[in-house]
Assembly symmetry: none
Homo-oligomer: 208 residues x 4
Amino acid sequence: MPKKVPSQALEVKDSISVGAVTTGKPLRADARRNRELILDVATKVFATEGLDVPIDEIANRAGIGIGTVYRHFPTKEELIEAVVFSFKQRLIEKASEMLEQNDPGQAFFNFLSLIVREGTGNKALIAALSRSGADIQRPLSGISLNFQNVLGELLNRAQQAGSVRSDIQVTDLTAILFSVLRTLEHNDDSGLSERILSVVCDGLRGRC
Amino acid sequence: MPKKVPSQALEVKDSISVGAVTTGKPLRADARRNRELILDVATKVFATEGLDVPIDEIANRAGIGIGTVYRHFPTKEELIEAVVFSFKQRLIEKASEMLEQNDPGQAFFNFLSLIVREGTGNKALIAALSRSGADIQRPLSGISLNFQNVLGELLNRAQQAGSVRSDIQVTDLTAILFSVLRTLEHNDDSGLSERILSVVCDGLRGRC
Amino acid sequence: MPKKVPSQALEVKDSISVGAVTTGKPLRADARRNRELILDVATKVFATEGLDVPIDEIANRAGIGIGTVYRHFPTKEELIEAVVFSFKQRLIEKASEMLEQNDPGQAFFNFLSLIVREGTGNKALIAALSRSGADIQRPLSGISLNFQNVLGELLNRAQQAGSVRSDIQVTDLTAILFSVLRTLEHNDDSGLSERILSVVCDGLRGRC
Amino acid sequence: MPKKVPSQALEVKDSISVGAVTTGKPLRADARRNRELILDVATKVFATEGLDVPIDEIANRAGIGIGTVYRHFPTKEELIEAVVFSFKQRLIEKASEMLEQNDPGQAFFNFLSLIVREGTGNKALIAALSRSGADIQRPLSGISLNFQNVLGELLNRAQQAGSVRSDIQVTDLTAILFSVLRTLEHNDDSGLSERILSVVCDGLRGRC
DNA sequence: TATGAATGAGCATTCATTCAT
DNA sequence: AATGAATGAATGCTCATTCAT
């Protein structure tokens, strides 16, 4: 039985080329701390205020210099991607957990529900995902590919169990998910989330 | 037998003065031409490149001076709204036509289908709907209200005819539409559109 | 005994080259009317809001087109000068009246008092005068010369009567006047006007 | 025997952070140099060309980027105020020195004389004073209040010594000073300055 | 002549990114 | 490594002036 991935996704920083330069060296302790700090703050700030927040703002709220932010993430774009990365990482963990469940249909719909719950009102998740996820044509790599894989796994099982209509593909699903999240971007009315989720789930079950 | 839509929803002003000041005077021939030119260009540009395109760009592509754009639309915001206005206007017209149809369910789903078809890859349309769909709390006015009214009419009839689940509200619907459009923003793959539309429609019919 | 100049200073329009093109032809009736209208509005608007008011504003308030304003005053600068012109014209009239008085000292100080009273809170008078009047080196011509002449006349007589210290020159005086007016630009507190006027008058009488 | 000015008026902050945010940290060497450079250039440029000079111009003349100007003074207004600040600061120092003199009347008139000398042809100084002198209603704060305090001190003593008429108030005085400076704005003819100063001083002594 | 539409240089301000300390 | 100062392209908007109707 697979152990749970540590929820903080810490082992990322140097082996995978997200942000910073990809040297083989592990980061110094303080640097690693800063990297995480930036990521945390950025995640929070992006989540609440959207991606238009200037880098200065993030540096300030993190209590560090702009230069430091840029040292870790040479580009705003890369910072955003790193944030997305963490999100996807978290979602992947959750998905893995769900895969353990017995009922494939249940697992699948639970996951959808989870995403909707996490994403409601989270501007960063949405805006960020919409960048890397909405463009379906683009071939995926790294984390996004992983994410898609787990999602596909969940989907397949549910389809094989007859809980989800069979003509749907993973890419359709991601598209739908991102789209729903975006809708909830400005609305934290949970009633709305529920109803939309319900519509989507019913729709995925297929015509009666 | 379907009644005609309440005239309130239909008598959208059709001649002049959207954005800018609403004087009674019709625009001079050349001004009207320019106004429409700007609107056309803006619509296209916004649709393809998003709302961040600078006004200069629009002016250039239209082959006119910046000042002219600002004469017609004193604010970028107003230009956007004018673009949105046209879109909603078109959709309202279509919706009105659909209301003539005998089968309320058919009418409703046809309209959804229409919107999806028109909206695929069209950022401006998405922005348009996002105004009435994204921020649900904000009370609507003018064209957006009209749009919501026609949509509500279509929805109600379909619900009374039992073609659509009854817990759905107009605002949910706009949210969903918006959501779907957003998804199709970067994807003109028609297969995707079809499947998503299908999922949404099935979902709206309700659990079997 | 000289008749009073008509207070509206109408005979200006074509013989003196202020504003418009200096053709010999008198203006058509409606043109003349417009010219005066513009001047009136500009005077009032400049007086209350300062010289930064856009020409559009003036045209609008006058209920005519911008083009018309520009036809009469090819440049904003010229419109301003025309406004100044009227002011000076009025002051010249008044000064002429004062010259009729028996007591030269009285006449002189009355005139100062008049200017202060008229100028208090009148942004246009002040800003305008400060343009054409504050630069003392520049040789005067036209109306400004006239103005200076009358003022000089008042001054001379008062000096000869021993009511004003003799080292003061007309240019000093205009400078002082403009300066006082500017001070009162933003203050309509009449107490202040009084005291400043009093200081200046006492100062002009000379050391006791 | 003249007491020292109340320390409140003197302890103007002298090191850093005028305009911008007032953090406790001293500026880095290069930053301080730039800040002063900007201030110098701005002072000179404002003084000679008025406050309408674009920020670009100032940046160019200082040989630095626009952004740098904005880093130090987030707003044009703040830059202007900083310039004003320096001026008033200098004047306050001078005034404090004068307060040391034995003869209160002498001290007072010397200060006036100083201001006139410094202010002749200096648009920035004029703007500076105009902040505290032009709009008398507005309650003062910070440096302007300090300035007014020292000036008031000088005035009071001179009045108590019988050298200045007693109906004059500090605000009248600033107004007058402002007024005189405005007059000298475009004129560096020292004869003019002298005569005007003389008139004002005599006027302030009061009717004989 | 009158009108007001068109023009575009000009300006304040922001922000991602680079670089000296 | 960290810092934060410097940079300057980019952007929304204004307004004097010109010109077609």
